[in-house]
Amino acid sequence: MEQQFVEVEKAVIRFAGDSGDGMQLTGTQFSDTSAEMGNIVNTFPDYPSEIRAPEGTLYGVSAYQIHFGATNTNTPGDKIDVLVAMNAASLKVNLKDVKKHGILLLNKAGFKDKNLKLAKYESNPIEDGSLKGYQVFAYDINEQVRRVLEDFDLPPKMIDRTKNLFALGLAYWLFDRPLEPTQNWLNKKFGKDEKIRDANLKVFKAGYNFGAMGQDLAVRYIVRPADLRKGIYRNITGNNAVALGLAVAAQKAELPLFLGSYPITPATEILHFISGYKQYGVKHMQMEDEIAGITSAIGASYGGALAATTTSGPGLSLKVEAMGLAVMLELPLVVVDVQRAGPSTGLPTKPEQSDLLMALWGRHGEAPIPVLAASTATDCFDMTIEAARIAIKYMTPVILLTDGYIAQGSEAWKVPTLDELPDISIKFATDKETYAPYKRDPETLARPWAVPGTPGLEHRIGGLEKDNITGLVSHDPLNHQRMCEIRAEKVERIVQDIPDLVVDGDESGELLLVTWGSTWGSARNALASLREKDLKISHVHLKYLNPLPANLGDIMSNFKKILVPELNLGQLKILLQYKYMRPIIGLNKVQGNTFTAEEIANKIEEILLSEGVSK
């Protein structure tokens, strides 16, 4: 049969297998190579919360999804074009997400009686006709790699372990990817052990050739490089971007970085990255608990460091009291909350946006804190620097919300140079003639930062209410009211220092879509599909939740209806209703994953239809 090329704008591939099958690695290679050849790439790993779930089971399935395109992909993609499934369980778990007539690349060796039983299949789906409606390509990959490595004196177990590279090679052939990036990577990774390296290289190439020689895979797909701006690029996850953002923010603030943290899914990777930054003079402490994580950071901030703590919902709950202390002390602090599904332990590896109201209001007393939210993996970098900038300039703790979805998902990032990034440094107080601990900058209302070691500025601060200006303990009721108001006003004034919203679409109309955080991507894709149908919808995306951008109220007033999709039961909706005194339509989902573009588009169409708006 003749092999032919079909050009597509975007495609979604998911590699799925057992936890031990190396699917995360396989997916990362596919994603890195695609990005390197110029595609726009969004990825999402999906793995069980058990570390080594029993082999072959439904709950032991690990997957990695890549959305790659010649134009903006925005999200890791909703429906899958190609599913690579290494065993029966991984087919069972992932089939529901595959498009009609989508391609299934199956490893027959993973569909033996034992596999079928563990996956709770009554008969073999490859043979029983239940996969009608898909393009099924099933090969015994284990058998293939054994044949390829016949001459290699390697234990059978090791030979079997290379099967993911065979599947990867086949996928490269299918999407016409260059082999060199992965070959280079294999060379580097297994350089020390020649035999293993050669075996891996051989199997990878064999997978590719298998596609070329094969009789049944007749169509190959081409996804052309995107028209990207010139520069250096890399793939980056949100967690990695936060870690880099902190290190870069410290440099741009001319302060040492200190991270006080405690391991928690899905934020732990930030701690991993930062613990490796020793060469950059970065200090970190893995503390005994979440409370010590934040309080050690407050101690470091008192000492003049750019201090941060990183956590997820359960940890944020534990840090609440200390955040109140930071509000009272008026010390800079960056608190990163990688949100996950709650309450309590909830769904630890699954994303949600349900910590918003806690970030805004979850403290005792009047304790305002600026709250920012990142919208994509790469935006995590910018928003981390922004959080640090606000923290230092306004002498305040700042909460940055990300979530498990963008924290673990990756996309290509145009790496900035340090010169391109803003200088966010401020000066410590040194003048003993004019210094008073709570004497404020008239514009920002920030108090001066006087760090120990500065002669003549010895002073005492603490959690007790402070006398305005002198900072001495004060129980005066009028002073307390005044200080509460000043602290609130200080945070409100930040509104002058954040960008106005720019509406995507018309400035007025039937429907305004308002999003925040990681739902940005699904919303973008939904809008794109609706605009193809000539529906007019406008969109604003919020990166600042406290204070809200100054022009949000005006923008909202120009629309008849406002829709807020969010991964909670209506938290931004509550905020906007209360702030702007008008009804908001919510689209709410708490299912451990993000919106599909279709879900948002359907909701929009439903609203417009009920309004009788015709296309």
Binding site: Y280, G281, K283, E288, S296, A322, S425, G462, G463
Partner: protein
């Protein structure tokens, strides 16, 4: 990396001003009750400060919540009165970020051993170079009289009207068990002894834990009379001195021998034992330290006072700095732009 703090951290002092204790008195009234044990602790701390060899601006006192935690307000140095239990975690972060500072923590039995217990054992195990003074009054005083983790079994307090059921912590054993490298105990009405302990703590590089019996005249008055009054003190306590035999009593007629692995009181006047049979105190012996500390709650034995243990080993903050310097030496100072780019990057031309 060059930072704004470098000048402060690396500042060389050719000469430290000749301070007097008065220089460390903050211009503010001390607000403890008249007769509170806190006063004598404060005045001894102020006394040693001129001689610890640290410029005033490099000294920080951190505290949590409780009567004792008001301490930083009364010291004219940098001070940080934080939230309940967290002083040690705050001080740890501060000391690691700023190894050039002399960091002190004033805390109480509730603050340190109860709500802050987790931070206590971990700061201790890490050997962060912090000096902890724990005011032990065996009661929650600021909340007006509930039993604390050092209150005694049977003690009647506002929250234990029929007597405390919980066994108390022995603070020195907890400190030793969690790895403190300096452990000492003193009491509020022996100023010169306290002063000596504070001086030793200040000299000690590493986590030092000094427990002071501090009388709360309001909620637990007289709790330590047995150990602090001169009528009973000679037989109820023993003063530990490095390299000296364990003798006590009104005329030093009593001593401690090892009976198997248990300490036992003997009377030297009876002629059966001489000073040569007694345990010789060795501050650096960790096994002996545990045995001595364990004498505390044994009614047959005197309660040890003084330096129970002193071990010299690298501190956590030093190790953090060494690790950084070592990496920079081996791999060169990191370039952030390289870090941003990572290993797997590509260029669009």
């Amino acid at each position: 990396m060059i930072t704004q703090l470098d000048g402060l951290i690396n500042k060389e002092y050719t000469e430290i001003p000749q301070y007097t204790p008065k220089d460390f008195k903050a211009p503010i009234d001390v607000r403890w009750c008249a007769g509170c044990g806190g006063y004598s602790i404060l005045s001894q701390v102020q006394r040693i400060m001129p001689d610890i060899g640290v410029p005033k601006e490099k000294i920080v006192f951190v505290s949590g919540i409780g009567c004792s935690s008001r301490f930083p307000y009364y010291m004219d140095v940098y001070g940080f009165h934080s939230i309940h239990g967290r002083a040690l975690a705050i001080a740890s972060g501060l000391k690691v970020a700023r190894p050039d500072l002399s960091v002190w923590v004033a805390t109480g039995d509730g603050d340190c051993m109860s709500i802050g217990g987790n931070h206590m054992i971990h700061a201790s195990r890490r050997n962060v170079d912090i000096n902890v003074i724990m005011f032990n009054n065996e009661i929650y005083s600021l909340t007006k009289g509930q039993f604390s983790p050092t209150s005694r079994v049977g003690q009647k307090t506002k929250s234990s009207p029929f007597g405390v059921l919980d066994d108390p912590f022995n603070p020195s054993s907890l400190a030793l068990g969690s790895g403190s490298t300096f452990v000492a105990r003193g009491y509020d009405n022996n100023p010169s002894h306290m002063k000596h302990l504070f001086q030793r703590a200040a000299q000690h590089k590493g986590f030092s834990f000094v427990e002071i019996y501090a009388n709360c005249v309001i909620f637990n008055d007289g709790a330590f009379d047995e150990y602090t009054r001169k009528e009973t003190r000679p037989t109820s306590t023993i003063n530990l001195e490095h390299g000296k035999p364990l003798v006590f009593g009104f005329k030093n007629e009593l001593g401690i021998i090892m009976d198997g692995y248990k300490p036992k009181v003997v009377n030297l006047d009876e002629g059966k034992y001489s000073v040569n049979d007694l345990i010789i105190h060795n501050e650096e012996d960790s096994t002996l330290a545990l045995i001595l500390s364990d004498m505390s709650f044994n009614p047959e034995l005197p309660r040890p006072m003084g330096v129970i243990y002193a071990e010299s080993k690298p501190t956590y903050d030093q190790k953090v700095t060494w690790q950084i310097n070592d990496l920079i030496e081996r791999k060169g100072e990191g370039n952030l732009e390289d870090l941003m780019r990572g290993d797997e990057w590509w260029e669009i031309k």
